[in-house]
Structure formats: structure tokens, C-alpha cells
Symmetry: C2
Subunit: 252 residues, 2 copies
């Protein structure tokens, strides 16, 4: 079966059978399981094995001197936690499991080998890091220039797209296993204010959010509320537009 990582990377390029097999194989390395709240990688920790999320949901977060935590990004299946290991000394932030999470642990050397042998994969991984950066930029724009409701809507909409692209958004619903406190840490507001903002989105009939799952009730309305522009996700590549847009549906 096709792994989430392969599905993600094939948005950028079409692999040969051999390439696909080798990328898929990355998900079959020894798997480590983490409980909710467990730290997968701690700030400052040097890493020798690459962590590939197989199942579950994790967050990249930084802890401020005053103890407050800010979630910087979400990690879902198919995401690599620590590609930076090749060049940086250690993590500059934490990666924490939000729900039961499984990671394949790939020796850095093996990734290195793969990269040096298959330049298509190298490019695809590069594409992946570049789009990650684009998502980060987009989040800066969100937090700098948009107000709470818009910001939250944007966050939901982006996750909806990401889940669809790995084939895991059935009926416009997807996992988001965070408490309201966690969501607040991700969207840069207090839990109280998040709660109120959430209620607005609910009463607008845009979403449902309970027990770690989001249901988007009005896709088009949510997109509008988010003032969403999809170009930053770099989803449309000429050759396989059809395949991607089929999965993304009417979202982008």
C-alpha cells in the first residue's frame, strides 16, 4: 500500500516504481510508539535517527522563558520531524505527541544514501522543506495581520487540505487531537478567547470541534472566513495536476 509520505511527495513528482518502493520502505523501519503528551524530541537534544510520523499527531512547539508554550506547526502522517539533523547540532524546539503517535526511526545514514542515489527523491524532499517554510511564512502573516476568527478558520482549512492530500479527510472531517488550550497555543491566543472564537465559528455553521476531531460543515464558507489563498502550498504542478486536484477536491 502507498504510504502517507509517498502520497505527499508524489504531489511534487511522479516516482518510478523503484523510487516509490524505496520511499515506501522508509515507513517500515523500526517503529517507536509515543503516548499523548510524551516528548518525541526535546529542545537541545542531538538526533541521530530521523523520525518519520507513521500514524498519530504531533506538534512542534517552543517554550518561552515565562513557561508559555507556542505551537509552531503540526505533524501528521508522512511528515519528517527532524531532517535538520544533517546540518544542525540539535533541536531548537520540542516535538510532542498529541495523541498516540508512531514514528519510524530511520538512521540518518540511510536517508543520506537514498538522497545520494535518487536525485528525484532529493528534489522531492527539498520541495517538502520549501513548502514547510511557506506554511511557516503563511502562519506569520496569519498572526501578524489577521484577527482571531480568521486565523482559526485558516488553521482549520489548511489542515483540511493537508489531510485530504494524504487521503485521510473523510466527509470533510479530520483529527485534531488537542484540547482547547492546545489549540490556543497553536493559534496564538488564550484558551478563553479561543473558546469564544470557536463558538463564533460554530454558530456561523462553519465547523464542529469536539473530542479531538474537526468537522467542516461549510467548506466554502470556511474558506471565505479564512480568506484562504492556496498558492503558498505549492500544490499545482503541471504534470499531475489532475491527481492532486482530485484529492484536494474543490479546496484549492
Amino acid at each position: 500500500m502507498t504510504t502517507a509520505l509517498t502520497m505527499k511527495l508524489e504531489q511534487f513528482t511522479r516516482f518510478t516504481d523503484d523510487e516509490r518502493r524505496r520511499v515506501d520502505r522508509l515507513s517500515r523501519y523500526p517503529v517507536e510508539h509515543y503516548d499523548p503528551g510524551e516528548v518525541i524530541l526535546a529542545e537541545g537534544q542531538p538526533v541521530d535517527k530521523i523520525h518519520l510520523v507513521i500514524a498519530g499527531f504531533a506538534t512542534r512547539s517552543k517554550t518561552l522563558p515565562n513557561g508559555a508554550r507556542q505551537i509552531v506547526a503540526f505533524m501528521i502522517p508522512g511528515d519528517l520531524c527532524d531532517l535538520e539533523v544533517f546540518v544542525l547540532e540539535g533541536m531548537d524546539h520540542d516535538i510532542v505527541a498529541a495523541t498516540e503517535t508512531a514514528c519510524a526511526l530511520i538512521p540518518a545514514a540511510d536517508v543520506m544514501t537514498l538522497l545520494s542515489e535518487l536525485s528525484t527523491v532529493t528534489l522531492a524532499l527539498w520541495w517538502s522543506t520549501m513548502t514547510d517554510s511557506a506554511v511557516l511564512r503563511s502562519r506569520i502573516v496569519d498572526q501578524g495581520g489577521r484577527e482571531a476568527k480568521e486565523r482559526l478558520a485558516h488553521l482549520f482549512y489548511e489542515l483540511l487540505i493537508r489531510y485530504r492530500l494524504i487521503g485521510q479527510a473523510v466527509d470533510n472531517a479530520f483529527p485534531l487531537p488537542l484540547t482547547q488550550e492546545g489549540l490556543a497555543a497553536a493559534s496564538g491566543m488564550t484558551a478563553v478567547h479561543l473558546n469564544r472564537t470557536l463558538q463564533q465559528l460554530r454558530s456561523d455553521g462553519l465547523i464542529e470541534f469536539s473530542r479531538g476531531r474537526v468537522s467542516v460543515l461549510n467548506v466554502c464558507g470556511l474558506k471565505k472566513a479564512a480568506r484562504f489563498e492556496s498558492n503558498y502550498l505549492h500544490l499545482i504542478r503541471t504534470e499531475q495536476t489532475t491527481e492532486v486536484s482530485r484529492r484536494a477536491g474543490d479546496l484549492i
Copy 2:
């Protein structure tokens, strides 16, 4: 003479003479000059030549549907504008010259050749993109979890370090050729509020800012006001710690 790009990359690795020569040569490609306010690269624009900032100051910015602009990052000499060209179809944001700016235009193919021939350079460039991502994450933390004064102080402090590392921060002063409106767009607040925040930093005796230049009057105080933690810049590498820390001084 050593170019800014080389100085920057040598924070990560020590080049051989040959490598240094080849990296330095990148700055000698045909140079394009841009006036203040001129768009170097527009959103949506496909790119075939890599833009390397030789002199001046430019901004990465996104324009929101409502017309508001949000500055996402600063580009100073030694920075590459559009490495993404290798993998992405086009820019997802604008790059705009803030002051007179000169960019060397390097054919993508030439960079490609360099990368394939000198793996040290590949790694160094990878390090550069990874630290750029780290800076983006840090900005998200800033805007999500810190208030105006802290945020602004952080921004100044980070620029001070970056300028020191390319040897262009004399007397703790450096160029920041933006109007208060521009600074506001960068720090995610209104011009009015930026003005007031700036006045606080001034009256605290931490900085001066006028006519596009920042002078840091109290480095230590600024660092404290910013609650600055340097690890995200990934400056300390074992082998040449001395050289980097000499340039960074007591900052990190």
C-alpha cells in the same frame, strides 16, 4: 575579499580555498540594481535566475486580500532570495527592495552545477535554509506569544546578530531602511502602535532608530527586553566556535 555569502556560510563549515573561491565567485555574476520600493520578485512570477543580495536591504512580504502587507523576513547581503526556484513553480510572495539594492543574478544551472560538484557547499546551503526556517518559527513564537515591546526588541536584536556575522555592524549600529510603517508591517502592528512602542524602547535607553539606522545603546538590556534565546540561530558549531563567537561578540 571575502563576500557576505561566504562569511555567512563559513559559520557552518570551513571551506577549502577552492570552495571559498567558487562561492565567492557567485557574487561576481551580472548585477542588477533596484531602487527603493522596486519589486525584485513578484508573487506568482516564475524565476530562472537565482538572486543573491550583494548590497542593500530587501523584504519578503505577502499582501493580504484586504491590501495590508505583512513583512515576513528581511534580506541582507549574503542572502539568497529564491533558492526555492529549483522545486517550486513560482514565488508565493513578493521580494521588494527597501533601499538601493544590488543582486547578482546567477543562472539556476550554475548553482546546480556547484551543488553537484561540491557537497560541502550543498550542506552549507542546506544549513542556511534550515536556519532560515528556524528564524521563521521564532517569528511565529514572537507574534503568537509576546507583546509589542518584546517583539520589537527581539527583531532588533536578531538583526544586530545577523549584521555582526557578516561584519557589518559597527558600534552596534546597523541599517534598517524602513519607515515606521514598514517596521510596523514587519512586527505585526499598526504604525501608530509601533511608534509608541519604539518610544518606550528609546526612553528605556535601549536603542536609537532614525533615518533607516538602528543604534543599540544597551546591548544587554535589549537582549533582556527581547527575552532573547540564541539557540534557534544555530550559530555554535564545534570546530570554529571561536571565529563565530569572535564576530558575534557577547551577543549569543
